[in-house]
Amino acid sequence: MPGSRWTAVLTLVAGCVCATASGQTGFAISGVVVERGSNRPLKHVLVSITPTEHRDVQLSCVTDGSGRFAFANVPAAKYSLVAQKRGEPPEGYHQDEEYATAIAVGPGLDSESIVFPLDTPGSLSGTVLDDQGDPVAQAQVWLFDKGVSSGRSQILPAGTYMTGSSGNFYIGHLSPGMYYVAVQGRPWYAQNFFQPQPVQDQNYAQEGAGAEPGRSISELDVAYPVTYYGDTSDPASASPITISEGGSATVQITMRPKPRLSGDVFHIRTRRLPDSG
């Protein structure tokens, strides 16, 4: 019954404190999680180990203030090691694409001085303005990630964000790569959903009955076409945004109102983004 041994380990390690496992008998897996590049220790990182032969067993631990983690009294075996910062996806030890390096634990093997570098997330911030230079608030910002999956270039949605009252947005936790941004919004002054406001004055309502709407309403019957970074509503002309490891980029997008009867420019068309394969 190999399972029972693992259950026992789970119980033993359940009270795991993230500190150096000094004075412990048996084997241990310990080390420090650092930020790639700067080597700054990272606290509050969830570190998990899973025996490669027993994928259903997982032991977890959170790094302390100096980035240290330790699993004491683990049986000799090969383990996969995964670390996860809050808000980030889990990352395997020395992970490259889908492959990560396993940790071998046993007599004569050093599994207690692991340095686990984690990617530094990048960020993208931006401002959405209208053609008069005023902020476009509550616009929907779509992020697309141009990645390679199974040897094929793909453009995948990577989240939606909302601009604040100053038209700005901030997207964190970005891994290095190429991105596209599309923005959907509505001019604050657009009257195309306009319903006459209830008027408190009954007499007025009768007087106004049958009155023609003023000609200026049509001038306000406008919408913004979906606008891609690169100041275009044509996805094929969208400009990519490159985020480097731990880097940040800042973009500005200008929305230009068009009469509302303009067909499919109001839909996002990812297939027509450059190099979508």
Partner: protein
Amino acid sequence: MVRMRLLLCSLALVLTVCCLCFGAKQIVSISGQAGSSQSSRAQRSVTGTVINSVTGEPIRRALVRLNGPTQSFAFTTADGHFQMDGVQEGAIYLSAEKPGFSDPSQTGNPVILQTGVNQAVVKLIPQSVIQGRILDSDGEPIEGVQLQLLAQQITNGRKEWQMRQMTQPSENGTYRLENLMPGAYLLSTMAHPVFGFQFTRQAGKLPQEAYPQRFYPNSPDLGSAQPIDLKPGEQAEADFTLPEAPAFSVSGSVGPVQDGISISIGDADGQQTFMPAAFNRQTGRFRLPAVPSGSWILSFHSRNSQGAAYYGEQTINVGSSDIAGLQVLLQPLPSIPVNVADKGDASPPQAQVQLIPDEKSASTGNYMATPSQAGDSQQAWMIRNVAPGRYGVSVQSNGPGCIDSVSSGSADLTHDDLIVTTGSQPPPINVTFRDDCATLSGEVHGGSGDAKGFVILLPGAAYIQPNITPIQSGGHFAFGNLSPGEYQVYAFSNIEGLEYANPEALRGFTGQRIDLEPNQKANVTVDLMVRGSN
């Protein structure tokens, strides 16, 4: 006639819970010059300016809307001017919109422009913002913490804190609360596990840490919190530095199990907060993986298909260890019948009866008596599903007659609080009426020209609701169906933000005391107190 309508309209705005909306409305009366024909309407131009009510600066590119016999729109130019031509004569409503600005009619009365004048100034109030960063003790941003904004609100003349907005800081720890009206606000973070919500699930029995609840600037509870007083157009900065504190698991079960049980967590002041919680609806087992030290109230609500409400409550004192094995019993919440009895034989009297929770009570919200419904065991007005707590009673006669007594069992609710405990049925509330009621009428003096505003009649007896009425033309006002006794009469130009049901809050103002005898038809003269908004 137009003025009357305006008074009623602004009364409605003041008395209802204010809502955020763009736009200011003005009425411009346009009529032809002397001698113009009445048979065909003249076409005129309306010009004007849209300005920031605080700075007086013009607002560029505001959208001005004119509603009248014709409707038009115009954007203001860089100097805030607008012009609309071809406007037909009649009652003209002007409003303006601009992001970041809001409706001023809550703080000022619309201006009525006189005959022949067709130039308008529309004032918009700049909205306010609270923004800041949420950092841990190392100065690193904390994301995911819930922030709750409470706004000070006057409801039926009583001050209360109402939840206004919730937000979360973005990945860099910054947050921004926008579109706020001027006023007093409390801002708090909610208890949040250091390792985030998904970690608490994965990490199982790992020792937990949490960022405890903090009211701005750095207080653990509402009682010692410092309100942020927002001026119009102000951008207030409010940063939080949150310590990491040990947190403990709290678990147990609630029963009997039924559909739709919800769990909520409040602090010792009864202020709701958020914490990660796992709840199994089949077994009734619950677990809160990361509760910071302190006193908390777990409450469980459910409502069965017949609409009957159940409630269970457990106070927990989290010290330095986990709490397990809690057993919470769900019990039906009592509904209290309200009997209104007349001493005379006239048509049945009507009363508005409500329970107002004691400030320190975990129960929130007022309970109003409503007519009986199908399925009720008794044919009576009921105050439904009253949570345990201590309540004051507040009664208003809608006539005929006036309030004589209010009691529940042996408790005289004109002096005593009503105490509702879990699992027990309080006796019915009995309201008796008398018919030797007094009336009070009078005149308001002061103010420039015709006095505008409100008259407040504050009874000496706390259980009788204060009365409020707009000042009529000529400064007149009148109240009827008054129980004999002592009253204070106040006249205010503006009651926005005035806690008029609280005698302490009115202490600084000069009222007129009046003792009403049975059947008396009293008359008083009061001076108008001019109050600015806020």
